[in-house]
């Protein structure tokens, strides 16, 4: 029986090397794999390129990974938030690179990367500074810019329920970038609130089919980022 469970969170992220490109699921705190991120802080890989919509909040989760000096470059749409101090300070000090990508283009680039589409055209950014240096093509009388698919070495994913072979469901708006990131990484590592036997999840409601998942760990009672921030917590 195929079984993709990994005993510990630490083991699940143990082989992420320095310089890896890592997609991190979540939009704000919803769907953010905070335990996997903290395990990556413990593990210590450096020079990472991180793909996420934001740059984390407070001094936990993604913000803590950045604050710990492990991230060389961020690819994101919105590197600001009301509780985010870590990224702005590093960015202004020239200690972290930033590739800003509109949210929908970021999503489509990830989806394209997972779907074997190396490049596509989109009207988003046409006529704006973010189109600078990009190929523009007129199709059917309208201008579009060329954008490239994005892939990663690893994806860190949070889901609600996983079966042991990797079929996944999500909780509400925690779905966000997680399913498309599962498709775009060589190795997809998932923290599930609950792991269930094969055959438990109705085939009609599987959101991420098991082909896109490599490793699963159970985190029954995950940390809640906004609660941690309210408490003034920091990691490590």
């Amino acid at each position: 029986m195929i079984d993709k469970r990994i005993d510990s969170i630490a083991a699940a992220v143990a082989d992420i090397p320095d310089g890896a490109v890592v997609m991190v699921g979540g939009f704000g705190e919803a769907g953010s794999p905070i335990e996997l991120i903290h395990a990556l802080i413990d593990q210590g890989a450096k020079g990472l390129t991180i793909i996420n919509n934001n740059t984390g909040n407070g001094e936990v989760g993604l913000a803590a990974l950045i604050g710990n000096g492990q991230v060389k470059k961020m690819i994101c749409s919105y590197p600001r938030s009301s509780h985010s101090k870590v990224f702005p300070e590093l960015y202004r000090a020239g200690k972290i690179e930033l590739e800003i990508v509109p949210q929908g283009t970021l999503a489509e680039r990830i989806r394209a990367g997972g779907a074997g589409i190396p490049a596509f055209y989109t009207a988003t950014t046409v006529g704006t500074p973010l189109a600078k240096g990009k190929e523009v093509r007129t199709i059917g009388g309208r201008d579009y810019v060329l954008e490239y698919g994005l892939t990663a070495d690893f994806a860190l994913i949070k889901c609600e329920t996983a079966d042991i072979q990797g079929n996944l469901t999500y909780n509400k708006t925690a779905r966000n970038f997680n399913p498309i990131m599962c498709t775009a990484a060589k190795t997809t590592i998932v923290q599930a609130r609950k792991i269930v036997p094969v055959g438990t999840i109705d085939p009609e409601i599987v959101i991420t089919p098991n082909i896109f998942v490599d490793r699963i760990t159970e985190v029954t009672d995950p940390l809640v980022e906004s609660h941690l921030i309210a408490q003034g917590a920091h990691y490590p």
Partner: protein, 219 residues
Amino acid sequence: MSQNATGWTREQMAENVAQDIPDGAYINLGIGIPELVTKFVPKGREFIYHTENGLLGMGPAPDPGQEDPELINAGKKAVTALPGASYFHHGDSFTMIRGGHIDVCVLGAMQISATGDLANWSTGAADAIPAVGGAMDLVAGVKTIYVTSQHVTRDGTPKLVQKCSYPLTGKGVVSRIYTDLAIIDVTAGGFQVRQLAPGISFAEVAAKTDAPLLPKGKI
């Protein structure tokens, strides 16, 4: 609508927007005044709200203590899901936006040009950290883009200009502007007043607009 010598309030601006949205419309609302549109849905109409982080059928904020950290909107505030709602991933969410399926998007603005260019994401200042979110996708993909904003900045500088000096969000995308002083269409001939706020004169609006302004009814 109560009269106000200094123009419309934020709530009245949102109400003006809501009046122009047809029954059954799918809507995406930006942060700030646009969010108030939900409070002024005209009688007999129903709007369905989209939030780009993966929810169609978004409802109001939950009662205090009922927040779910995994049920939030694009502004990362706790929301609810109404009956008939659906969840989906970011790829599908921007299929709705980029594919022209959302009928109306209401956004705030830093500047709007006479040709409908919108600047609302960056001052272009050297030390500013660029942060665009979904704004460029929305203006490129949604069928109708409405802007609602104060007519001038806090220091009195016009936001309606001949040409934006701030970096653009999109080119030629805005079709109508709802300010505290007037409702203004972006036409082939430039800015044109559609309606003046009670007690506000055309001359006053024209003086606070940094581009030619056509009166109502003229070409």
